[in-house]
Structure formats: C-alpha cells, structure tokens
Symmetry: C2
Subunit: 313 residues, 2 copies
C-alpha cells in the first residue's frame, strides 16, 4: 500500500486527527477531547493512544507510516520546542521528542496557525503556489507564511504572528499579548463584536443587529450583506485594518497569494472583498496584483497541514 501520514490539530477543547495518503487525500478523520487537567500531562498520551488505536484498526504496519505532524496552540521552534501554551497548561518542553517517544514514529510539530497555513498551501486555497500568506480570523488573528514552498518558523516560533502587528497608535485597550493597538483587536471576530457594541451601546443608530440577542461576528456579517449601516462600518473596519496590515506584510515577503481563513472567513466573499479593497491602494505597486482567496479546508486545514509538515517538501 502507499504510505500514510497522521495529521493532528491540537486545540483547547478537542484534538482533531486525520489519516492521509502522501497525495493529500484524507482517508479518515476523528476527534478526541483535550484533557487539560494535571497541567495538560494527559494530552500527548491520549493522542498517542488514539493514533495507536487507529493503526490497529486499519492494520497499518510501521513501515507504511511516514509519521505524525501536529499543530499546537502556541509558539513552536523549528526543533519542536513549545515556548508556552498557556491554555493547555504546558510549560517549555520539546513536544516533538515527547510525542515521538510515545508513538515510536517520526513526529514534527508547529504552531497551529502556521500548520493550518501549510494545510491550505498543500491542498486548499494556496494549492499550486510557492509563496503564500495565510491569515486566520477567529477569536484572535493568526497567520502563516510560506516562502518558496517552505513554512517559516522564525527564531522564536513566532513568524506569521501578524495578529500582533501594531496598527493603531492611540489604542487604550490592552490586547491579550499585553500590547495596545494590535491587528487582532480590530480584525478578529472578537474585535468586530466589540466595535458593534461600542456603536450600538453608545448611540441610537438604527441597526438590525439590535434585534439579535447575544450577536456574534457572523450575525454582523449577515446584517452587512443586507446593507445594515452599522454592520457595514464594522466590516469596513475589519477590512481596513487587515488590508493595510497585509499590504505591509507584502512589503516584507511579497507573496503570490493571500488566503483568508478561520471562522470569520466562513461569512464568505464579503470578507475577502472588504480586505482586498484596502489592500490594493496600500500595497507597493509591484505587489498590487497579489491573488486574494478564501480558505478551502475550513476546520480540516490543521490536520492537512500536520500531515504535510511531517511529509516534508
């Protein structure tokens, strides 16, 4: 049989796992719960057990398996050292070596946003390109950078942390990272909902958003599709901050394609259009024709990327 690869996307609530062939076809996928108790010490053994069970179920031989690639929610150095995964309870240690011992297979580990970018590059929105920037819009804003077909890790595992570019000088709110005025404060789902609250709670401006109890970002974008003026302002703010930030990213790495993913991107083309509108006039002239597209793999980008990580180039 042809070789297979395990891709793992370790999140704060669930661990997604996938089995792939070397051509990038998904053969199976499943999930387990992320047990964060006891400083996250059960997480890697649980993942290893789940992989071993799948190996037995599928009657796989060790020589058929290329290895296990995994994205984790925190900065990861190229050697597999996790710097800090606060929401898993982990300190600094080499996840790659640890998991490799447990599964007795080659393991590669990367930051989750970076690994999702690699997945989109391999089998999603960036397929067929060599230089890609991916931005992931969810609770926060993450990113991943592919240069000449390779995922960039950076010195401290923080390449692609474009959510923490400073985009507003006079912000008084503090970002989760401790700085003020980070892109994530404006272009994440959280940032968009915050802006809607700012407008709706402090003015009498009419808006259909008011009719939605506990509205979320996706509700705001739905209202924007129906030309609600407050929703359009929120969408415009997301697009302006992200469009200019991506124009600045393009001055650094000059990508062929920019892929927009994460939960926010599920609201569709209006998101890409809102960003592109501000990217074009603010980009360096040579970079202006960069392709903009939405991510294609949705929640599976991380497991695809994990598989690609261990498969190599």
């Amino acid at each position: 049989m042809s070789k297979v690869i395990f891709g793992v996307d370790l999140g704060g609530t669930t661990v997604k796992l996938g089995l792939f062939d070397a051509e990038g076809n998904m053969l199976d996928k499943w999930e387990i719960v992320t047990r964060k108790e006891d400083s996250g010490s059960h997480i890697l053994p649980d993942i290893a057990d789940s992989i071993k069970a799948k190996i037995e179920e599928k009657n796989l031989n060790a020589e058929d398996i290329v290895g296990v690639g995994m994205g984790v929610p925190g900065p990861v150095k190229e050697d597999g050292t996790v710097i800090k995964c606060a929401n898993l309870g982990w300190g600094v240690f080499n996840v790659q070596d640890e998991l490799a011992k447990l599964v007795n297979l080659p393991v590669r580990v990367g930051n989750d946003a970076n690994v999702a970018a690699l997945g989109e590059f391999w089998q999603g929105g960036g397929k067929g390109y060599r230089n890609m920037v991916m931005v992931t819009l969810g609770t926060g804003v993450g990113g991943g950078i592919i240069v000449d077909g390779h995922l960039i890790y950076g010195t401290n595992g923080s390449a692609g942390e474009i959510g923490h570019m400073k985009v507003e000088e006079n912000e008084t709110r503090v970002c989760g990272c401790g700085k003020k005025g980070c892109l994530e404060q404006y272009s994440s789902a959280t940032g968009v909902v915050y802006m809607a609250h700012q407008i709706l709670d402090n003015t009498d401006e009419p808006s259909t958003i008011r009719d939605i109890p506990n509205y979320e970002a996706k509700d705001i974008f739905e209202c924007a599709k129906h030309d609600d003026p407050v929703a359009l302002r929120c969408l415009n703010s997301l697009g302006k901050h992200l469009g200019i930030a991506l124009a600045n990213v393009a001055c650094v790495v000059d990508p062929e394609i920019i892929v927009i993913g994460g939960g926010v991107s599920k609201s569709g083309q209006i998101i890409a259009d809102a960003v592109h509108k501000y990217y074009t006039p603010n980009a360096f002239h040579a970079c202006r024709d960069c392709v903009f597209t939405l991510a294609k793999l949705a929640n599976d980008a991380g497991i695809y990327g994990g598989a690609k990580l261990v498969l190599g180039d």
Copy 2:
C-alpha cells in the same frame, strides 16, 4: 589557487566591483562610471569589459572563477529578470542571462538592497546568524530579508521593500512610489531633512541646525549628539516610525538580528538606539530580544553580497 568570485554593485553613478575568495576575503576592489546614456545599453558591456580586464590582470583561469554576482537598483525576480530600473533607463529584461553571455561565466543578479543585506549577513553585522532583517537608510529606505540562511526574493522581486510599508494614515505628501505615508518618507535621510525644514522654516525654535547652510541628515544627527532639541525630535521621529515598522516586520519573519545600514547608519549608535527604543515595547513578546546592530561593511556590503549571491549557501 582557491576559487574566486566577482561581486558587483551597480549604482546610478558608479559601478563598484570586488574580487573575493570563497572564504569571503576581499582581494581587490575598484570602480567604474555608470554610463546611463542610450537607455543604459553600455552598462553591462562596460561591467563585462572591466571584469575581463581584471581576469587578465590577475592571470585568472576560467576554472578558478565561481562567477559574477550583482546587485541592481530595482526589483529583480529570482530568475534574474529586472522589472524596472528607472534611473538606469532599463526596461524589463533578464540581466542575468545578458551579463552571463558577455562574461561567459555564471551570473546571479538581485535587488541592490537585498544583495547588500546578503553581504552583511555573510561578512558583516549579521555574520553567524541564520535569520536576519536588514534595513538600509539612505536617500530612501530599502531592506533585505534572510530566512534560514537564504535571501528572500519574493514573487515580484519586492521582498524586503520595507521602506514602502504604510506607517502614517493621514500623510498628504506623495512618496516616490506613488503611495502616501510610506516609512521612507520619515526614516530616510531625505525624510529627516524634510522634518527639520518643516520645524525650522515654520517656527522660531532655537536650534544649532540653523547655523549649518544646506544641512544634511548627518548634520542633524551630529546636532542630536549635542542635545539640540529640534535634532532630537527629528531623530526620535526616524526611530519611532522605523522601530514600530520593524516590530511589525518581526511579526512576519521573527528574525534573530536586525542590521541597520546605509548612509544614515554612519552616524552611529544613536541611530540604532533611537530605533531600538521604539522596537522593544511594540514588538510581540517572543520577538522582543532580537539583537540590534549597525552594518559593518559600509559601501562594500553590495559587492560582498554580490559575491555571496553567486557562491550560494
């Protein structure tokens, strides 16, 4: 004898040439005039003639020569195609192939700021590192990005064009690139002199700069060293714009070291200090300890980088 390499730095006024051994020792350097007439059609033949004359002078055999590497003042794709070198009168063509035919040696070509970055990476301020960002402060602001030991070209030869990151939203002046609010408008020699003029021509603020006829950026920095308040404001503006921009660059590629070069950097440590002061609080926490240093090769960075370009990794 050991192999030798030619490094060429093609500028708008002069062409600098150097002869290097494979260990990065400069064996010789010289200059010729850049003849821009006739749409720049004499430039490559002049360079080829100068190289051939040196080969004869030094009694070099073809098999002793690795090749010729050259930086040119404009965007260059990885295949050696020059997109536009307005100040040389050149259109779009493959400089690499053209020069290779003339000298009958392997040739590699890159953007001048990128190639200078490679020179500093090989034998200058970035020696011994793997991930470097260089920013060149002169008439404009250029840059170069080294990731995992490799120079990044980008899709359109525009990687490292950090002088054209948008850093001010409400600028009315137009940058040379056609946009408004580019880093280059504030952190170049030109930008600093412009700011001094703005203050001195429109106010009565006392300043020792007023005593210097036709003052240049280096005069302003000299006054800053003696605590002239207007000069200090100009220096602070350079540092603030560049420090924040570099913090944003670090979110993209997470370098180990940032090297500050170009004519402005000759004013010394006060430049690096002014930039570093704004870098640290604005950088993502994982990237905060990035090393800051001044370039070491001065005007020779380009010929060193040219040699390294053709030598490879």
